[in-house]
Each structure stands twice: as C-alpha cells, then as structure tokens.
Symmetry: C3
Subunit: 157 residues, 3 copies
C-alpha cells in the first residue's frame, strides 16, 4: 500500500509543519542513512522542523508532556523521510527493528515512555503493522541544539 503510507506521512508532516520535500541535512561528518544488506540504519534525528526551528527545552522543566510528544513526532517524521529516501519508497519497509528515543528532561521527569509514544504512534500510523517496533526510552541530560528529543532507528526491507 505504497500510496497510503505516503499519504499518511504527508498528513502527519502537514500537521506538525514539516516540509517533506526539503532536503534533510546532517550537522556533521556523517550520513543520514546506511543500507547494509536488508538493514537500514538511520542517524539520530533531533526534533527540528527545519534549518532554523528546533523544538527545544527540557521535559518536566518548561516543556510539557504534550510538547515533548510533539517533539518525538517530529523526530519520527524526520526518520521516516530519511527511510523513504533510503529505501526508494516507504512501501519497501518491512519492519522497524528498533527505535531509541532520548528525551532531554529534568531530574524528576519519569514519563520518557509516554514521550516516546509520540514517535511510536507516528511510525505505526504511517507503516501499519510494519511500523511496530522494539523500543528503548531514555531520559538524558542534554541533546544537540538543546533539542527536546532525539530518535534513532534501524529498519529492514
């Protein structure tokens, strides 16, 4: 169902204000994806909408759960945009083997899993059963660009 996945991604991207047709740049000496056999590794995606706008701040200290979930959704959409390019279309993705969601948070914030659901829900909404994944949710001290969320994943084709 190639078109339905693409449609779902476009719908969610529009919701969060992310331009799917913009080039995804990386901020250092690395690449956005590596294809290795039938695995695709995607670099960590911080919660940035574009070159100038980053969803930033610390969950539990100025950033609400809902805002952090939106940041996680932004990271997931970025990863899906990379996957789409890496695989030559989202219809070729068979599974998401693992997702790690890092949330920049306060020292008393314990809802990292709830934040990560913002990403997981987007992956499942776009890919259906193929979007169901294993997951690790971690609360970290500081992320690049003061981003609220960073997400990495490994998919298979």
């Amino acid at each position: 169902m190639a078109s339905s996945r693409e449609d779902a991604l476009r719908r969610i991207a529009a919701e969060i204000g992310f331009d799917l047709d913009a080039e995804i740049k990386v901020g250092g000496n690395y690449v956005p994806f590596i294809v290795s056999g039938n695995s695709i590794h995607v670099s960590g995606q911080i919660s940035r909408l574009d070159a100038s706008v980053v969803l930033e701040g610390r969950a539990g200290a100025g950033v609400s759960l809902a805002q952090a979930q939106r940041a996680a959704k932004v990271s997931a959409v970025r990863a899906l945009a990379v996957l789409r390019k890496a695989a030559g279309g989202l219809e070729r993705i068979k599974a998401i083997a693992h997702v790690t969601v890092f949330t920049q948070c306060s020292d008393t914030f314990t809802q990292q899993s709830e934040v990560a659901d913002g990403a997981s829900d987007a992956l499942v909404a776009v890919l259906g059963d193929a979007g169901r994944h294993t997951r690790t949710s971690i609360g970290v001290y500081q992320l690049p660009k003061n981003a609220t969320v960073e997400l990495e994943l490994v998919a298979t084709t």
Copy 2:
C-alpha cells in the same frame, strides 16, 4: 543444553523474586521483541519486578552499588524471559551481540561498568559462552518510572 539454561534462569529469577511465568507487558505503543533474520531485538527493560514493584532511585545517591547491580540483574532476567519467548526456548540463542546498560545515577557516580556486571554475570550464568557479549555502559539522568537500570540487547539465533 536447553534444560540447564532454563534451570539457571529459574534459579536466578527465584533469587531476585521475579515470576518467569507472568506475562511481560510493555508500557507503550511498541512490542517486546522483533525477530529479523537471525537477529532478535529486545526492547529496553527497566528494573521492574512486576506491574507494581520497580527497583528505583539513583545510583550514588540513595542507591548503593550492590542495589544497582541487583537492578541490572532484574533487567537482564527480564530480557532473558523475552528472548526465551522470542526464540522458542533459550537453547536456540547462539550469541548476544550487544547489550547496553543505562544506569540512573548521580553526577559523581563512575561505576556504571560495575553496575552493568550485575546484568552481564546473569547473562553468562544462564547462557554460558553464548551469553558473552559486547557492552556499552552509560550513566543517565533519568529513566522511565524512576528505574535504577534499563537494559536493551540484540541476540542471534
């Protein structure tokens, strides 16, 4: 040696008060494991004994090294319980490719490797040489449910 692995797991589970026959639930929109080729990815396992009891707190600030090592052992036993189900028996596990152990700690606690040995020792005790693994040990700011440890792993069959 299927029975010896199963026996070892039951012995360690009994030591820490973990019920191997209870269903392992996940706390969000994800799955406990994904089988991909001959790899099995296991979701991050926090140090929780059951639905209500979490080994919680911060290593180096109220949680001793021995307590944190026990938390790591709980996470390892949970991961082994998931692997057992994913593979259809622990005897099918050929190797543990990688384990990451995240320890929630104070800003001066530097024994993350010693904490992780609590998990590594359990993996080797149950799986023998097949339980020897690569490992990354990290001290993090905050984990879901205020857990002291979270552990993820990738195994091969």
Copy 3:
C-alpha cells in the same frame, strides 16, 4: 588499500599518544567485539589512552570543545584498534553502519555533534569512504571512570 588504512591509524594513534600494540582490555564481564555474520559489534570505548590515563571531565564545565573532540578521537582510535583485530585487518572493513557518541557534559552544553566530529573525522581519515557512517550524538550525565566520551559502533565486512 590495507597499508594506507594501517598507516593512517598509526599516524593518528601517534598524534594522540595511543599505543596501538598494547592489549585492549575490558573493564568487566564482557568482550571487546562480537562477529555475527558480516557484522562486527564493538563494545563502548571510553576515552582512555591506557590503563592509567583517562581523558576525563565534563564538556562545558572544565573541558573545552577541543579537549572533548580529542577525547572522541581517542575513543574512535580504540574502536578502530578493536575492529582491526576483529576483522583481521582494517582492509576488510566495508562499512561503518552506525556510531553512537556519548559526551559527558554540563546541562547547557549543546555541541555534542561537534564533539562527535572528532571521532567521525578519525573514522573517515582511516577508512575513507568506508568510514562514512550514521551517527547519534547524545549528552549524558555521567560516564564510567568519569570519561569525557564513550563511543560504540557496528561495522560490516
């Protein structure tokens, strides 16, 4: 180009004062690498030069960006030394699928990507195009031995 990779590694190791011929020991119940099919998993390498000297401290609080980048380079050289041994020579490495760089930092330090470039630059300098990788850069609260950087990677042969 086996010899050029080896030469490049020796040159960078000499620059940072790392003895390539020393045995790389692990600090716990785990192994430095696991070969699984055509994948090589390398354990997390902290920024230590040898048994007694660790590049330690917190980026953004006493450790400068340049010092943290050097720490990242040390971790990368250690990982390359492990890979060399695991693969039976660096010429056999076809790709670096993923690198994760954890930087121990202050709560306002946001240049984790710039730190990680210290590692990425070394990987590319030694392996050329085969050293280009996906990457995740995270700022964490505390690392083993108070190290400034810890790096893990997965390579393919």
